[in-house]
Symmetry: C2
Subunit: 440 residues, 2 copies
């Protein structure tokens, strides 16, 4: 332990987005139970306004504002712009450094991310790193172990104890001028990119000022927020776990469709520094395609991928684990060490007494119940009773399938002393007194 502590844990605290001096000596509101008199103190009203009230107001306002086709198309395009800001920018570039971007691309991504209204890249990445480092623990800022709703928006709507959330190293982000600038000027960035720009474009472009504000602005924000929040909720709840099932992340195409390709989340948590989330060509990962395109035009470089060998190893180990679990649920016959030991003569005597015993590979099997069902006929299997049928069973007459060997193992009743007919032992004994057969 002394040794572990001698290591710096490398974390530097982040500056919260909406810094509010709180008295470190007073207990945080999240540590007090909810009552009729304090419930409103538990709610983070600022976040609730951004995530719930404004979108609701937008829905109501939409009733009076007709949706124009041009505005619709633009809103969708702007949705993708904001979405890529989060997925290709906040997530894969800044939180995970899975590739390097040149200045114009960084500005584009920071602008898109601002348009999504999900905090600054610095705040978002810091929390996201905690999420990876402390996945599913109490230090995970949006742990799905606290419920699907909590991981989706609960963690923003209800006040969280800032001391609870795991800290991580964000020194690289503090060195990135775009990240720092966006963080310092976050409010301006948001108002400009999320509301003013789309309103201006629709207004100046085709005169749809109100539509630009409501649809390309407010409602588009709502959709992109809910979509990206799904990475924290849905992607930790729905789907397969091909790489590791110790934690909650899962792969599902539905999540991928909703989140611009962030739905292969089991892969992503296992290989977070890979710029891809989907590794198969047929899987939907438009963020990856966008990064490829940026590399093609020279704006992105150093795209990191995890070695394929390691990916295959992870997949294989997880399959092995599932197989082992399955194996444990099946009946593999009585373990040999639990079987009684019979001598050859006892075996023959028992068989003469009417028990349908067959010796195969040193193990004695009771095939009585199976004679009627033997696919090779009654005659053949009966002819082996009281004999060593190892050779005939393994090809002498018919080379039995794997299934037959399995079935055979469920019919074990005893082990043969000496392991075979021990004629050799007997002869040796007759010839010399030195060779003594094994007894126990």
């Amino acid at each position: 332990i002394a040794q572990a502590e001698s290591f710096p844990d490398g974390t530097t605290d982040h500056i919260p987005l909406r810094k509010k001096a709180y008295d470190i000596r007073k207990p945080h509101i999240s540590e007090q139970p909810w009552t009729w008199s304090n419930w409103y103190q538990h709610i983070n009203w600022l976040n609730t306004t951004f995530i719930i009230f404004i979108p609701l107001a937008g829905c109501v306002a939409a009733y009076w504002v007709p949706l124009q086709m041009k505005t619709l198309y633009f809103s969708i395009a702007y949705y993708f712009f904001a979405g890529l800001g989060i997925t290709a920018g906040y997530h894969r570039l800044w939180a995970h450094s899975s590739y390097k971007a040149r200045l114009p691309l960084k500005i584009f991504l920071a602008a898109g991310g601002s348009a999504a209204v999900e905090g600054s890249a610095r705040w978002w990445s810091s929390l996201h790193r905690s999420h990876h480092r402390y996945t599913d623990t109490d230090k995970d800022p949006y742990s799905v172990r606290k419920g699907l709703f909590y991981s989706h928006i609960g963690w923003m709507v209800v006040k969280q104890n800032p001391r609870r959330i795991g800290r991580t190293d964000i020194s690289d982000l503090n060195e990135d001028p775009v990240v720092v600038w966006q963080h310092r000027n976050y409010l301006k960035c948001v108002v400009t990119m999320a509301l003013i720009v789309p309103t201006l474009i629709c207004g100046l472009g085709w005169g749809d000022w109100a539509g630009g504000f409501i649809y390309a602005g407010i409602l588009r924000i709502f959709f992109i927020q809910q979509a990206t929040f799904c990475v924290n909720s849905l992607a930790h709840w729905l789907g397969d776990q091909p790489f590791d099932d110790r934690n909650s992340p899962r792969d599902h195409v539905i999540t991928a469709l909703v989140t611009l390709g962030e739905g292969y989340h089991n892969f992503h948590h296992e290989f977070p520094s890979d710029f891809r989330n989907a590794i198969e060509w047929y899987q939907y990962d438009p963020t990856k395609w966008f990064i490829w395109l940026m590399k093609f035009v020279g704006l992105a470089y150093n795209l990191k991928t995890f070695p394929q060998n390691e990916i295959e190893k992870g997949r294989l180990q997880q399959m092995q684990k599932k197989l082992d679990q399955k194996r444990a649920t099946l009946d593999w016959g009585t373990p040999l060490e639990q079987l009684p030991v019979l001598s050859w003569d006892e075996f023959v005597a028992e068989a003469k007494n009417g028990r349908a015993l067959v010796c195969i590979a040193g193990i004695i099997h009771d095939v009585g119940k199976f004679i009627q069902d033997h696919p090779g006929g009654k005659t053949l299997i009966s002819s082996a009773i009281g004999k060593d049928a190892t050779a005939v069973f393994n090809g002498g007459v018919y080379n039995h399938s794997n299934a037959a060997h399995n079935l055979l193992s469920t019919m074990r009743v005893a082990v043969l002393r000496g392991g075979c007919e021990v004629e050799i032992w007997k002869r040796a004994q007759a010839e010399s007194k030195d060779a003594v057969p094994v007894t126990d």
Copy 2:
């Protein structure tokens, strides 16, 4: 070997369908090479006529005979009747005894089987048992190892050496009066069921004598023949091998669709006495459904199934086999026994010399190339150089994923003498002369 020979192999020779005395001393035609002067002797003209010439003539004749809807529907129904005769009758009842049938059902199935023109149940089952017992060997009457065409119709169109084909026990068939009667009266059965009955039904029913003969008779025969032949060709060639891949049988839904459910052929060869070919509810196996129905109306009983436990075991072992094959193709790092052994002081000295060596769990890793790529940042991983980072790597700072452990194993360069920092050894040594550190 003497012992193996003391076993009867249980086979009784079958009477070939078209018995023709041949001189046992003369070499069979199949043992002679094909030449311009003997090629026609290689061809089995009788089979060729039934399988190729008559259907071709039927196609030509169909040009002058318009297809009536009623005749079409009847042909399809009669197709299923003949098909079930082969699949539920010849195959699952007689060749594999996978259930027991009462007399009316046996007669129904023998009649259907005759309508398919594929030989008597006795001849067909005998060959089919050889096919199972000697699958893929030279004794297999329609081994796919001799080519897809050979397994489909080649084995009938070209004369085969009757001594080559593996023999099997058909004593149970010889005790079945329906089988024996059909075999003795095979030609009458065929002509009646394959041609006369469908012609009469269409003729007397709706006056379509010619259509009944051509469509419900000849062309229907052609289709059912080709479909069932696919079990010998396609089912040994197309698809997956979930239960065993040592032999050729395969599972594929296309084969199942064509062959009334006989397409889960990998399962079938592994569990031939199971009355089912498809074990999942969503797989297409109408033959199984038919047998169920017959059980429901009391005409079939003793439906045999292989224990589910054994089926799962087979599937699991095959998956394990594939996994092991895959495992062998991956790089798991240098095996520990091939690594040099370093003492703690050598390790520290090398690290001071500039090699980025980190000791984790008694193994020394060169992380130099990985520092830049470390998802947890350069600082943290660099802080472990020249130290034992077992605790920090395994949760002290961050509990690394399985993927990280895999990656780590590819960076191995040496084993630490003593397995850990051996401070304990050193202290023990200082305190008493008895405890000597391991040297080699």
